[in-house]
């Protein structure tokens, strides 16, 4: 079916088309973070020992906890979509709400973690960090850039998912029209995938 005409009211929605659009957007996110991964790979190769020490200064417990939080939130949003497809509105809402909550827990953990590290003087351009070896400075530069950019995406994801929650409540997302929810879920899953890579790169830096 051809797409909606410009100033006319919205015609048929193209479910596959909007899904394709969302995947294309995810490709751009993969490449956006990809640039940072490229930088990480270069500096890890050059400063492997420093990166190892840097990794040991991070809080592995929070890192793993956050991983569990995001993996679980990925599951809950996936169930939410599936529930909507099966007409189980209540389960869909509960799981979506759980996803948002888990996202907030992630951010809370991050805030605690960062405050501790900044409190110890481990932030870009701090006197403590400037006194440390180059590799450790770069490790932390990349740590804040990558987890920071990731955190921004978590915030955006929470906003989008909350918006979807509202749409379900207002019945603009339904059993036969759930494309937006699914697409929001896809975005959230990518946020999860990026964290899956960030965990070993920083917390388990070998």
């Amino acid at each position: 079916m051809s797409g909606a005409a410009s100033d006319a009211p919205a015609g048929h929605k193209d479910y596959e088309g909007s899904k394709l659009g969302m995947w294309l957007f995810l490709f751009t996110e993969i490449l956006l973070f990809g640039g940072l991964f490229i930088l990480y790979s270069a500096y890890w190769a050059r400063y492997t020992a420093d990166f190892h020490r840097g990794g040991q200064m991070l809080n592995l417990g929070i890192g793993v906890a956050n991983t569990v939080v995001l993996l679980t939130s990925s599951m809950t949003v996936a169930i939410s979509v599936s529930a909507m497809q099966q007409g189980n509105r209540r389960l869909s809402i509960w799981c979506l709400a759980a996803t948002v909550l888990l996202g907030l827990v992630f951010l809370g953990n991050k805030a605690i973690e960062w405050s501790a590290e900044i409190g110890e003087g481990l932030y870009p351009n701090s006197p403590e960090l400037l006194a440390r070896p180059h590799g450790e400075q770069l490790f932390f530069g990349l740590y804040y850039s990558m987890t920071g950019l990731h955190g921004l995406h978590v915030i955006a994801g929470i906003a989008v998912l909350s918006f979807m929650l509202n749409s379900i409540r207002r019945n603009t997302i339904t059993r036969t029209d759930y494309g937006r929810l699914e697409n929001a879920g896809l975005y959230w899953h990518l946020v999860d995938v990026i964290w899956i890579f960030l965990l070993p790169l920083f917390y388990l830096s070998a």
């Binding site: 797409g3 193209d14 294309l24 870009p124 351009n125 070896p133 770069l138």
Partner: protein
């Protein structure tokens, strides 16, 4: 029943009718208007640069101003004219029509793309006049200078980031449109070749642009927070900046040239009254250029301190990527052979494209040889080369496309004699300006210098005079079109007897493009008996 054209349809009137419209045709025109203004600003700066090189003792502008000039000239031309030019204007206007659709896949996202474009353009211009000094790094923003200099780099770089967003969303929209909205009878191999070109371009827009996005963000993070990734004082490697920058900026040149090649591929068969030679070769070579072109970025870094191994591999791939481009040139030439050629303004500029792009491409091959590159890197040879491909190539392609589709877009005919007349100063001025640069560069004249040694002066004088002649020609050409916009004669539905879908609908097109979604057969079928 007469339906109103897209220029008059809709409930809104005046400015809101345009800047709130999600109609792909209006958005294309909005881009055109903005771009023509920005293009003229950048041309003016370019001319001022040429005046500076004439007035070397004493120079007309202080050196820092010259640095700001070449930075802004580059930023505007590349990010606001050459990159978005054909896709945003002609891709937007024509893509849905050419595939038999009523609009792109995401019309509101399309309007958002335009808003990002305008925002980025405004921010770039603002960066000139705010902060302690205008940016002076060149459009390439190389570290470590870009992270140390006092100029307003962060704002300029952020402007480029926003423009990148515009490009990404456009590419995303076009890919989805081509996959989902083609009329059912239009199989992939029945699509016009302009659509194939836009398709290849769109993939580069989507996949490559985010890399420059993150790179530019990192420059800002460096300047503001000192994260260290490009800063030698903290163990950072400035060469990594170059790698990341060119990983996008090389494929970017294919964003610049592929749509222009696509437009040429539409124009040539129409004015040769022959079907295109080698449809599949042209279609697939567009994809090949996009693919191979993403692996040659190191040829911008042959003198930077990169390893020999990298030099060799990048050089080899650079030579390889010339092959699909050359394939296209062979195909266009073969299309002309035994054609019934009619040289009207679009064809004139299209043929000029082939000639100038070939020179640009050949000089590119020269530069792709590592040994030659040692001598010509950062000289006027490079400047000459990229103007041959970007202005002689994309620029000419843009003008050819404008001359070809102007009647369709606006329903008015321009003065063809004036367009043809403008060609002479454009062609002569262009070659005076840029061929001199090739010679100057080979003789050793460095780029981005506000002045030059006496032995280069003659070349500079020729180049500067050439720039005035070129600018004069451009004013005639664009003036002709501007006048036609308001006082041109009404254009016939199909002034050039084109055979693709855009020529089968009214001129200018109605809001929804088609009354009924059309059925298509093989593309580029001309009635050759009637033409002879």
């Amino acid at each position: 029943m007469t339906t109103r054209s897209y220029l008059e349809a809709g409930d809104r009137r005046g400015i809101p009718a345009w800047i709130l419209s999600t109609d792909h045709k209006r958005i294309g025109v909005l881009y055109l208007a903005a771009m023509m203004f920005l293009f003229l600003v950048a041309v003016t700066i370019g001319v001022l640069m040429r005046v500076e090189q004439l007035t070397i003792a004493p120079p007309l502008f202080p050196p820092q101003i010259y640095n700001a000039f070449f930075t802004v000239h580059g930023v505007i031309m590349i990010f606001m004219f050459v990159l978005p030019g054909l896709p945003a204007v002609f891709g937007n206007f024509l893509l849905p029509i050419m595939v038999g659709a009523r609009d792109v896949a995401f019309p509101r996202l399309n309007l958002l793309s335009w808003y990002f474009f305008i925002t980025g353009a405004v921010l770039a211009v603002v960066s000139l006049f705010t902060g302690s000094a205008p940016p002076d790094t060149g459009w390439t923003f190389y570290a470590p200078y870009s992270i140390r200099t006092g100029g307003n780099v962060s704002l300029a770089v952020f402007a480029a980031f926003v423009l990148g967003l515009s490009s990404i969303l456009t590419g995303l929209n076009f890919i989805t449109t081509i996959h989902r909205l083609r009329t059912p009878s239009m199989t992939w191999h029945r699509m016009p070749l302009f659509v194939w070109a836009i398709y290849g371009t769109a993939w580069i827009q989507v996949l490559a642009t985010p890399i420059i996005g993150i790179t530019l963000l990192l420059v800002i993070l460096e300047r503001v927070f000192g994260i260290g990734v490009f800063d030698p004082a903290k163990g950072g490697d400035p060469l990594l900046y170059q790698h990341l920058f060119w990983i996008y900026s090389h494929p970017a040149v294919y964003i610049m040239i592929l749509p222009a090649m696509g437009a040429i591929t539409e124009i040539i068969p129409t004015f040769a009254h022959r079907t295109i030679f080698g449809y599949k070769a042209i279609a697939y070579s567009s994809i090949a250029i996009a693919a191979l072109g993403s692996l040659v970025w190191g040829h911008h870094m042959f003198t930077s301190g990169m390893s020999t191994a990298a030099n060799v591999v990048f050089s080899l791939l650079t030579f390889l990527v010339a092959v699909p481009s050359a394939i296209k040139v062979f195909n266009w030439t073969s299309t002309l052979y035994k054609g019934s050629i009619e040289v009207r303004p679009p064809m004139l500029y299209a043929l000029t494209f082939i000639f100038l792009f070939t020179i640009g491409g050949l000089t590119g091959l020269m530069q792709g040889a590592v040994n030659v590159n040692q001598h010509v890197h950062d000289t006027y040879f490079i400047v000459g080369h990229f103007h041959y491909v970007m202005l002689g190539g994309t620029g000419m392609g843009f003008f050819a496309a404008l001359l070809y589709w102007f009647p369709k877009m606006f329903g008015k005919m321009y003065n063809e004699k004036a367009a043809a007349l403008a060609w002479f100063p454009i062609f002569v001025g262009f070659n005076m300006l840029y061929f001199s640069m090739l010679v100057l560069g080979y003789m050793g004249m460095p780029r981005r210098y506000y002045t030059h040694l006496p032995q280069y002066h003659t070349g500079h004088v020729i180049a500067s005079i050439g720039s005035f002649v070129l600018a004069f020609g451009l004013v005639i050409l664009l003036g002709d079109l501007l006048v036609a916009l308001f006082r041109g004669k009404k254009a016939p539905q199909n002034p050039w007897n084109g055979v693709s879908l855009e020529w089968q609908i009214p001129t200018p097109p109605p809001l929804e493009n088609f009354e009924e979604i059309p059925t298509v057969g093989r593309p580029y079928v001309f009635n050759q008996e009637a033409a002879r």
